[in-house]
């Protein structure tokens, strides 16, 4: 019974079909490429995954951000969806476009908000300064735009991912 999964990592979405799971041998198709993998659990909680050419020991850690797959210190975060489930739920995909939202890249304290409502910020302009781990860190708006919302105040503590400022594209 083949099952198809959509495996997202950042902007990249791959289709992985589990064709056969015979315990220590698993046959998958990754974006059309068929792979026969040797898979078995290692005593320290990692899983050995091997092709005839290559073997890796991976650790799977479910986190709030998705499934963290760790190879020594190389970390990859995946969102894995059963393809049928997400199709049923509507094929829109992706989260609300992050375009105009500038969010905190780390937990910290907002020490400065150098922008005003309706101000036009150039691409890469600083919209907030966060303090974390004894450093001031500039938070920039990669695409720039007009400030339509300032969601925080100076002096408050924010969590990673918190909305700081929302911008709208400026068309000229």
């Amino acid at each position: 019974m083949a099952t198809e999964y959509r495996v997202k990592r950042g902007d990249k979405i791959e289709t992985v079909t589990v064709l056969e799971d015979r315990g220590e041998i698993v046959v998958v198709e990754v974006d059309g490429q068929r792979l026969e993998l040797a898979v078995h659990a290692l005593p320290d909680g990692r899983t050995a995954v091997a092709t005839p050419e290559r073997r890796v020991a991976l650790r799977a850690l479910p986190t709030k951000q998705g499934l963290l797959v760790v190879d020594a210190h190389v970390q990859r975060t995946f969102e894995v969806e059963d393809a049928r489930v997400s199709w049923l739920a509507g094929a829109s995909g992706g989260k609300g476009a992050a375009g105009g939202r500038v969010t905190a890249s780390m937990p910290g304290r907002v020490v400065r908000l150098p922008v005003k409502l309706d101000e036009i910020v150039p691409p890469g302009g600083v919209v907030a300064v966060l303090e974390a781990m004894k450093m001031e860190n500039d938070v920039r708006a990669p695409g720039g735009g007009k400030v339509v919302e300032i969601a925080v105040k100076e002096g408050v503590d924010v969590e990673s991912g918190a909305l700081l400022v929302r911008l709208e594209p400026v068309h000229d």
Binding site: E14, V16, V28, V39, H73, E81, M133, N137
Partner: protein, 495 residues
């Protein structure tokens, strides 16, 4: 035996506690609420709570630290680095309370702690200093005038700063107003003194420092150099001893200069003379750190001297256990600092949970750490998690050993800089040398290896598939443990 209170946290607190234990001294840890279960708290014989997580409410509260020492009967305080370690007011409060502060006199700390005073003192002692202001800069107008005089680029530095913090490089006059204000604010916030001064920025110098040790019997020695030019955000990330390319003549001249500088302030204990070195091996005094350095392990590995042991001896009134002629560099040592930070986003700090933590072990490797698997790296403090040092009989083998050890380092839960460190170690500029503080900036953007991407994607699907299969035979609501473990995976929520 006397008892030592360690007024610090993380790896350096653990380092000092172990050294005390080896000497038979009692140990008292202090902690903020964020560190209640931290390693240093468990390692010490006793532990005293200081206050809430922010440093200013806990580790910077000298009054609480002294009260903790009095409460537990500790007669010595080791400040580690950072926090109260270079605070001469705290040192004086210790003196007043009859507690031995493990470090130099308040006089030496003041002379060296205020960078402008230090520059004046060293200049007077015949030690070469970087061109710039010998006095603090009080106003924007004054700053403007001096910068025009010495010419851009310039560096704005906190007079009471150190450790690479509170430094801004300004490339032209347009950057001065915001830069001056920001530097003052940061200096005030972190060092309790908003005074800044200005130095001519020597672009991409080498950053080489000399370790000194002095006792109260008039002995002052140096332990040769550490090369600290691999920096990001003006902060060191890789250090080595000996320096990769430095003539024996310059090495000895720098050592002598460092002893002269230390003697000029009647220095006692362990300290470091930081220098800028140009391509002609001219060196300039930059600042003295009147405390133990983060990177002290490379000197310990190269010389065989235990710096913390010597600090403790000196504090108890004994002579140094080694003389200048005993200090011989053997082999080569490199230290890599492992930070919770994201190199792909300008090295922003990335605190988080230490979900996986298995440092590499083996011949020639030394780990200095203060966290364990399961711990949360708090966001209130410095983002350094651990220091990995490699020693080998020569530099190429030390590099190879470090490279292999970094590859084996198992760590996960937040962004970290291990791949960036690997990139530096593997770079031709680092391997061939000499390199300068511009090294990190010359590297191409870091790209996580695409090797094994397909295996990882396949495994993510297989793992999810098996979790689903394992759930299927169960009735609804059953098997709660498994469900709880898997339900947190985004893909399993049929949203």
């Amino acid at each position: 035996m006397p008892k030592v209170l360690i007024a610090n946290r993380g790896e350096i607190a653990c380092r000092v506690i172990r050294a005390c234990r080896e000497l038979g001294l009692g140990t008292v840890a202090v902690y903020s609420d964020a560190d209640r279960d931290a390693r240093h708290v468990w390692l010490a014989d006793e532990a005293v709570r200081l206050g809430p997580p922010p440093s200013k409410d806990s580790y910077l509260r000298g009054d609480l630290v002294i009260a903790a020492a009095q409460q537990t009967g500790a007669t010595l305080i080791h400040p580690g680095y950072g926090f109260l370690s270079e605070n001469h007011v705290f040192r004086e409060e210790c003196d007043a309370a009859g507690i031995t502060f493990i470090g130099p006199s308040a006089y030496a700390m003041r002379q060296m702690g205020v960078k402008t005073t230090a520059r004046q003192t060293m200049h007077a002692a015949g030690v070469p200093v970087v061109p710039g202001s010998l006095e603090p800069i009080a106003s924007l107008a004054e700053a403007h005038a001096l910068c025009e005089e010495i010419g851009y680029p310039v560096m704005l530095k906190a007079a009471s700063g150190g450790g690479g913090r509170g430094i801004r490089i300004l490339h032209d006059a347009a950057e001065l107003p915001a830069g001056f204000e920001g530097a003052q604010r940061e200096a005030g916030a972190y060092f309790g003194d908003a005074t800044v001064y200005i130095e001519k920025a020597i672009l991409n110098p080498r950053h080489i420092e000399i370790q000194v040790l002095a006792d109260t019997h008039g002995n002052t020695i140096h332990l040769f150099e550490r090369e600290c030019s691999v920096q990001r955000r003006n902060q060191k990330i890789i250090e080595e001893s000996p320096a990769a390319h430095l003539s024996q003549k310059t090495r000895l001249a720098m050592g002598e200069m460092a002893v002269r500088a230390a003697k000029a302030v009647q220095y006692v204990g362990a300290g470091t003379i930081e220098c800028l070195v140009d391509t002609h091996e001219n060196f300039y005094f930059m600042e003295m750190n009147t405390r133990l350095q983060v990177e002290h392990p490379v000197t310990e590995l190269a010389t065989g001297v235990d710096l913390v042991y010597e600090q403790l001896r000196v504090a108890m009134g004994e002579k140094l256990s080694v003389r200048q002629e005993d200090i011989v560099q053997r082999g080569h040592a490199i230290e890599c600092r492992i930070y919770a930070e994201d190199p792909s986003r300008g090295f922003v700090p990335a605190p988080g949970p230490l979900l996986v933590y298995r440092p590499p072990l083996g011949p020639g490797l030394r780990i200095d750490d203060g966290f364990g698997e399961g711990d949360e790296i708090p966001r209130f403090y410095d983002s350094m998690i651990a220091k990995l040092s490699a020693w080998a009989p020569d530099r190429p083998r030390a590099i190879a050993r470090m490279d292999a050890a970094l590859a084996r380092f198992e760590i996960a839960g937040f962004a970290h800089n291990i791949e960036h460190l690997q990139q530096v170690i593997a770079s031709e500029r680092f391997q061939v040398g000499p390199y300068d503080t511009g090294l990190v900036g010359t590297l191409p953007p870091l790209r996580t290896t695409a090797e094994d991407d397909v295996l990882a994607s396949a495994f993510a699907a297989i793992w999810t598939h098996r979790q689903r299969q394992a759930q299927k035979p169960q009735a609804n609501g059953d098997n709660e443990g498994l469900w709880q473990r898997t339900a947190r995976v985004g893909g399993l929520r049929a949203k």
